[in-house]
Symmetry: C2
Subunit: 121 residues, 2 copies
DNA sequence: CTTCTATTTTGATAGGTGTCAAATTAGAAG
DNA sequence: CTTCTAATTTGACACCTATCAAAATAGAAG
């Protein structure tokens, strides 16, 4: 109920954009994710979460890196989550965010030069 | 004079976002490119140009794939060009667009899981 | 139950963005 | 020079978005 994009839909997986033209549907799904990355705050949030110990971080770990209000950070985290790029899980008082490495890898593959075929058969 | 982003600045090249947190400057440059990809029309335009014979295409080759006015296509192409993702060159009556494979590869590497080091020494 | 802390949601606002029609530039061809 | 085609630029408008302050929700602790 919380995610707009189905994380299980991977029919566009790994076919690079340089191969054959994207369909309108593929472009719609992919551009929604790139759009979420198209903000400096969100991109830094994603990298902070990804690089944080254990692969997850709570808002309290992230907010300190910006001169932005809490609600603004929360807004950007929601955008990333609704785009399917990160996950959130409540544990006690804190809410922990973690990246979806698979989705990031898929986006990387779409921009990649060729179907490398060096580890994902 | 036409590009806002210097195509020669590659100081953020290839360090994946999952490694260590991006600096504000890196995030600014990268997010500007992802932002340009964050529109379905632009993403399809990019893939159409990339997949076109010879690696380049004129607007007349692209406009037919959309139900959009010429000025709108031109607008999106300019956004892609100013983001440093594509190049444009006038030859006679037509203006040919081509992708910058290097920039796409860099973006792919940023989202990639790890410094693969399997073909770009 | 009350209070405290962590985070989100709501409401408001300034600024950005996609789109089109109309006008403009650039080159080719008479 | 005039005309024709290709593409861009300008101007306008509806919609979206990033941001904050204030209010609301969720759990922990007393």
């Amino acid at each position: 109920m919380s995610n707009h994009l189905d994380p299980g839909s991977e029919r566009w997986c790994c076919s690079p954009v340089t191969g054959e033209p994207l369909s309108a549907e593929q472009a719609g799904e992919l551009s929604a994710m790139f759009k979420a990355l198209g903000d400096p705050v969100r991109l830094r949030l994603l990298s902070l979460v990804a690089a944080h110990a254990g692969g997850e971080a709570c808002v309290c770990d992230l907010a300190g890196a910006f001169e932005l209000s809490g609600p603004t950070i929360s807004h950007h985290l929601r955008v990333l989550r609704q785009a399917g790029l990160i996950d959130s899980e409540r544990r006690g008082t804190w809410i922990f965010y973690s990246v979806r490495p698979q989705v990031l890898r898929q986006l990387s593959a779409v921009l990649g030069p060729a179907p490398a075929a060096h580890g994902t058969p």
